[in-house]
Amino acid sequence: MTIFRWFKTAKSALGNPGLDPIRSVAGQPNANPQQPSDLEEAIDAPISMEQRIGWYREQFDRCSDVVYFSFVAGAGTACSVIFIQGIINEETLHRQIIEAAMTIRSGESSEQFVRQLFEGRRLPVSSMDITASLTEGLRRILLGEVLLIVDGDARMILFPIEKFAMRAVSNAENEVVIRGPRDAFVEDISTNLTLLRRRLKSPALKTETYFFGKHTQTKVLITYIDGICMEGLVDEVKHRLSRIRIDGVLGSSYIQEAVADNPFSPFPQTMYTERPDVVAGALLEGRVAIFVDSTPMQIIAPVTFYMMMQSAEDYYQNYISATWIRWIRYLYLLISLLLPSLYVAVTTYHPEMLPANLLITVAGSRDIVPFPAIVEAFLMEISFEAIREATVRMPKQIGQAISVIGALVIGTAAVQAGIVSGAMVIIVSITGIASFIIPHYELGLALRVLRFPIMIMAGVFGLLGIVTGIILTFLHLVSLRSFGTPYLTPTAPLVLADWKDVAVRAPWWRMKARPHLYQTDHEKREHFGKPKLPEEEGSS
């Protein structure tokens, strides 16, 4: 069952569709796949204000942050607001809702006041919803809205004036660029959406809202550009999201893991980013971005292996240097996966592969090392992993100390003591640097993990083991899919047209078509051709 069909049935269960809250940013109705059964039980709101407040007090039993405030509004109508302290903008509540409602207009009857109130003519607010369902009101209060109950009317008004404590938009910390924009997503989803909307000022940018997590009620947005994104892809994303049943969503990886094609793969099948420009770029290529509230990392799907070898920087720098850097990255990708294994295999099984002088140097440095090469390699790699992990987790001030001590211990002392060879230190350091060159951290992690089995293969079977390891990895990679897109597109399957952004970074005036792999409906981009000199333009 697709989520659309489900949504239709769920919507009718909500009761009066006309009263359905219309509030989400792109004007799409809210859907709550999490609690359809709760909503179906929605009881009709009792007329009496006291009854309704009593019901809410019962629900919010022992919730000290819920505020109930009753006041007398214009024309003597009794009103109450219910909200949660701290997550709403109280100034707006005072000025635009309570104060405005309390203004007395002469000759106004209570009926007139209530009618104007519900017609949206009484209060100077920019948006409000009307609901008759108590449970809906309950849910919305928890989302940071203010519920206004008017005595004598079964309907209730919801004012979305939520205001959460949040961080200001700051510099990107994980995906640093030199030339591109610096802003990064924050934890607040509406701020994040603003950052995206600032870049894509188009009505074709669609954002659909969902809520996940039984207790967290985390807001999740599916964003895509209508007309560029393949229709089936959006449906597939929705379908996969609709399967999620979870207690809480505390980060985007909760969603990521739930929608993965192959849950057993070490390779990331969706990509996360903290950069709004990366999301905008992905949407323009016909992909889908999933925004998750309260995390600065948004998900992009589908992805390919090569996409994770691209950095945002590539598109801001000169395309020639960007291409060169991309090649360096591919080279170091191999190094980060294979270098320690190659070293172990060549020195223990195939020393004839090394030139005589190099071999003698290596043999000389290994002469006093008490361990076999494979043990040495493991020793060093594992200590390096430990240093890396410690440096990431340590508080910043201590982290510095750790890295210095680690470098000293492993780099100098171990070699001098004759525990490891100098050559191995070089190998491990290059490998370590190589794994940081991979722009996408999760891919780097996957390769870091894969390095160890390949090292064991190298230690046991030599080069043959490495080759077997590579073959097995490739078998896995070619069979992997990300939302139906083969992971190694455009090399397997071969899509030569898409190589313009894989083997090289083609200049923008050559990127005439969107990536073929997403099968967008409109493959042609707006393009302008190679820049010309004025005289050329005159002659052509």
């Binding site: 004839e352 005589a356 003698i360 290596v362 043999a363 076999p372 004759g418 046991v460 030599g462 043959l464």
Partner: protein
């Protein structure tokens, strides 16, 4: 991932795991448990019919500057050692050496094989037999024959390089001597076993680098013509150079000629030499057309010749070409006289006239001796005249 695809993966892994033991890659030997033989000396043994095998091993712990702690024990002594044993054949001698070593001998770095003159005269077949069967040898290992006994070379210090094998490798790389590799020897076996191997000399010399002690100096000197697997005669340096032309291995050479004008010495450096050989089967003989092309750069003029005069220039170029032709001819004549197709010209015949080759293959040596003629044409183009165009004294005179 469904259960069936999981089990399929296990099946694939199982298949691969079964295959792995078949490869014979279970030979894990740590690099510090290996002894790397860098050079091999083979000579006849003291007992008649025996073979003396000597191997030069690099000692990595002495090659690397000490690394503190328990590192290398300093720089005393040579960073290599020679271990030699005598046995009925090479394989037995090798086993004897191995049983005396704490580390396992690895042939992977063996780049130079030196054969003693005595053994070469007796025949190199038994050695080739051993080298060809062992898969670890580099086919690119260079082969030399030394004048006298190999022991002389073993004693020679490597003055310029770290290891003595490096000295010989560099000789071969410079292409001033014929560089015969193990592969060439194996190829020659299919063409009547005639080949040519360059020779080493090791004269005694007072060495300043070795604290003025008298020691052996490794040098090059001519080549040995191998006929039917046995060294039959020597070739002088000049003739060997002619051989380099035929084998298309010449990188650069300095050729001096007498000036056609007054007989003074003119030297040219010859570069970009390229030789083409084309056989032609006639009724009663086989003619090899050998065409050499090269470019000559003027090195020095010791005559009144004016290099910038086109006419004189042409004369010199012709003279130069004739000299090259003479050199090539000399080398070929030497081999033809003893009926050894050392330059393996037979393969050109096989390529161009496969049918005829099949018929004459078996008595190719006799045919080579009697029924083969050479048509040698060299054309040297003189291009550069150096930085100055006139000889310095010319200006003073005129």
């Amino acid at each position: 991932m469904s259960a069936s695809s999981l089990s399929r993966i296990w099946k694939v892994i199982g298949c691969l795991a079964i295959c792995l033991p078949l490869t014979g890659c279970w030979s894990r030997v740590e690099i510090n448990d290996r002894a790397f033989a860098t050079m091999m000396y083979v000579d006849k043994g003291e007992i008649e019919g025996n073979v003396k095998l000597a191997l030069t091993f690099a000692l990595p712990n002495r090659l690397i500057p000490s690394q503190g702690g328990g590192g290398g024990s300093g720089t005393q002594g040579n960073p290599y050692d020679v271990v030699s044993k005598e046995g009925k054949n090479v394989a037995i001698a090798y086993r004897l050496i191995q049983s005396d070593l704490s580390r396992k001998i690895n042939w992977g770095q063996l780049r130079v094989i030196v054969i003693g003159e005595g053994l070469a005269k007796r025949g190199i077949q038994p050695l080739l037999e051993f080298l060809a069967r062992e898969p670890d040898f580099h086919l690119k290992a260079y082969v030399f024959i030394t004048e006298g006994e190999t022991t002389h070379l073993e004693e020679a210090p490597a003055v310029f390089e770290r290891l003595p094998s490096e000295v010989l490798r560099e000789f071969a790389k410079q292409r001033t001597v014929i560089n015969t590799s193990l592969k060439d020897l194996l190829v020659a076996r299919y063409y009547g076993n005639d080949t040519i191997i360059s020779m080493l000399v090791s004269p005694k010399k007072k060495m300043i680098s070795e604290k003025n002690k008298t020691a052996r100096w490794i040098g090059t000197g001519g080549a040995a013509i191998i006929r039917d697997g046995k060294m039959s005669t020597k070739m002088a340096v000049n003739e060997m150079r002619g051989g380099l032309w035929i084998m298309n291995e010449l990188k650069d050479a300095v050729i001096s000629i007498h000036s056609p004008t007054d007989g003074g010495e003119i030297s040219y450096r010859v570069v970009k030499a390229a030789t083409k050989i084309k056989p032609e089967v006639r009724k009663d003989k086989i003619v090899f057309h050998i065409t050499s092309k090269a470019q000559g750069d003027l090195v020095s003029v010791d005559s009144d010749l004016n290099p910038s005069d086109p006419k004189q220039h042409e004369l010199v170029a012709r003279e130069l070409s004739k000299e090259v032709e003479r050199r090539i001819k000399a080398a070929l004549d030497k081999t033809q006289k003893i009926g050894a197709d050392s330059f393996i010209l037979g393969r050109y015949l096989e390529w161009n006239y496969p049918k005829e080759w099949k018929q004459i293959k078996n008595n190719w040596d006799t045919i080579y001796e009697n029924q083969v003629e050479f048509d040698i044409r060299a054309s040297i183009e003189v291009k550069s005249q150096g930085t100055i165009t006139k000889s310095p004294w010319e200006r003073w005179a005129g």
